[in-house]
Amino acid sequence: MTDVATLLPDPPEEVAPPRRQHGAAAWAVWLARRLGLAVLTLWLVSVLVFLATAALGDPVRAILGRDYNSNPGRVAQLEELLNADQSIVSRYFDWLGGLLTGDLGVSLANQRPVSELISANVVNTLVLVLLSAVLMIPLAFAIAMISAHYRRKRPDTVIQTILLAMAGLPEFVIGVLLIALLATTVFKVFPAVTISSPTGHPWDNPDAMVLPTLTLVLAVAPYVSRIVRASLLEVIDSDYVELARLKGIPEKVVMRKHALLNAIVPGIQVIALQLAWLAGGVVVVETLFSYPGVGLQLVDSVRNHDVPMVQALSMIIAGVYVVVNVVADVLSILLTPRARTAISS
């Protein structure tokens, strides 16, 4: 039996086979429906972000703290900036309109346009997340394959126990332990803090990328690896793999062609979930290593109660999540013959 089947994500939404449509038309309908749902989700996310930042508390009071009562001039100025005199509904639509036309507003902390402040950091974070994903995916699959190869034997048990223990650890725990191990206390190999000039990029000094990337990889790989192993075992136990073996196909080919390919689809769903999860993980990891990305910027903005910055940054992170999910759904449909025919026949 599989260990982590309860952790497996839902299969891509079952789509009722559209009648009287063939091939490309059916695909277009399916894709349009999926994209429509994504847009709807993004819109609802924008409502949620706006309500949480602008309506739940009083940002002006939060920014000024104790000065709130003693400094009515600053209160008026901030309320002006936030258009606090208008109704919440019209403020929302102003903000949404700006968002759609690329105008993200002005930062409360230093009065510069938000888009100018975050563009470099978005690139930095994308590089960090993609680098981690590129390293994490083959690693997780390799560990899963080794573990599945030795199923129920000693190496499998050892690997699974280690993975299980690691899967529960928060990112900052892994990060701090790595710093202590590789940067400060035990060995002094890599820098613990990312220092980059305001014009340069963090990867100008590749050493500084090592620990943040490694932290993200180690935080995500155990979970992915456990799920890939579970789906690999499920495939290995299936009838068609049994049949392929009985036909006398060499074991290596069976593993590669029959087993691995079929285990990739659940893997894609998991990777999509994890990529999205990385978007949350960067918040902590970037803060830990002072890596100049959107996560660090978000934490700083939340501390400063810089509402326009937080709104823009959280919309970006949620947007990445929604896009990644759409891509993962399309990919898993394309790679699952059964689902492919269900749509186009």
Binding site: D3, T6, T53, L56, G168, F172, V173, V284
Partner: protein
């Protein structure tokens, strides 16, 4: 129920349905569950008892900052690290437990109502759920904390609970869907039982194994989430000892006084490993029960 070989050691009392051992009893036979439970209970006991045994007060200055005085040295204000660790678990434990309970209660309610209600009701609930799901948990907490001057313990509990709820709901809905169409539910409905009673008396009791496993997992994530928020500088009482916040306060001195950071990190790590092992043990039982 049990097609696998293992759990036949208890004499199988036949015929009557409720003779099946409870989820917990079955979980106790899992090594990883018992190890996880032991670790978790030890840590909970430590968190509750330790403040009475701490050599120094929570905010008492024990020596110069970042010195080697005492068992684990002192922190950035010269407070005794060991004492801070002994005091610092209370807030994490309380917020994690209540946040998890709240998230489970909300999530189960949403999921079961969606599964039992069905139709457009289900569609709306799960769509709204997708929206909250497109936020990494920590992001949801941060967005709300933007407009709040100083979080209280209640706000943190609420944030942890609400960010868990959609994830729990997804699972609860999946489990409940498999139950609401079973004969005993239909029979109860045919007898004219009220809907709330059908849910409480027929549906929920049959979901306890997967829900317990999910609860254990959520507790693990709660600890991580609250630790991370403390690390980012968001805690209910900035003066009080708090494992997450200790990391933040002392991390600049990691090379000179590592224990001020490593001690709270290791406690959180052990705590998470314990609850995660426990959750995984229950999850295995839950799966066997399903098949």
């Amino acid at each position: 129920m049990s097609t696998d070989t293992g759990p036949g050691s208890a004499p199988p009392p036949p015929a009557i349905a409720p003779a099946e051992p409870s989820t917990l009893r079955k979980a106790m036979r899992q090594k990883r569950f018992t190890v996880g439970l032991a670790i978790t209970l030890l840590l909970v006991a430590f968190v509750i008892v330790a403040p009475y045994l701490a050599p120094f007060g929570e905010n008492e200055v024990a020596g110069p900052p970042f010195s080697k005085d005492g068992f684990l040295g002192t922190d950035y204000l010269g407070q005794d690290v060991l004492s801070r660790v002994m005091y610092g678990g209370k807030s994490i434990l309380v917020i994690a437990v209540f946040g998890t309970l709240l998230g489970m209660a909300l999530g189960i309610a949403i999921g079961v109502v969606a599964a039992y209600g069905g139709g457009w009701w289900d569609e709306i609930i799960m769509r709204a759920n997708d929206v909250v799901l497109s936020f990494p948990q920590i992001l949801l907490a941060l967005v709300v904390l933007t407009a709040i001057e100083q979080p209280t313990a209640w706000i943190l509990i609420l944030l942890v609970g609400v960010s868990h709820a959609p994830r729990v709901a997804r699972l609860a809905r999946g489990v409940a869907l498999g139950i609401v169409s079973r004969d005993f539910v239909i029979a109860a409905e045919a007898l004219g039982e009220k809907r709330t009673r059908v849910i409480l008396a027929e549906v929920l009791p049959n979901m306890n194994a997967p829900l317990l496993a999910e609860g254990g997992l959520r507790l693990t994530y709660s600890i991580g989430l609250i630790g991370a928020l403390g690390f980012l500088g968001f805690s209910a009482d900035p003066g009080a000892a708090n494992w997450g916040q200790m990391i933040q306060e002392n991390r600049l001195a990691l090379s000179t006084q590592p224990w001020a950071v490593l001690a709270p990190v290791l406690v959180i790590a052990i705590f998470c490993i314990g609850t995660n092992l426990m959750a995984d043990g229950i999850a295995q039982v839950a799966q066997r029960g399903d098949n």
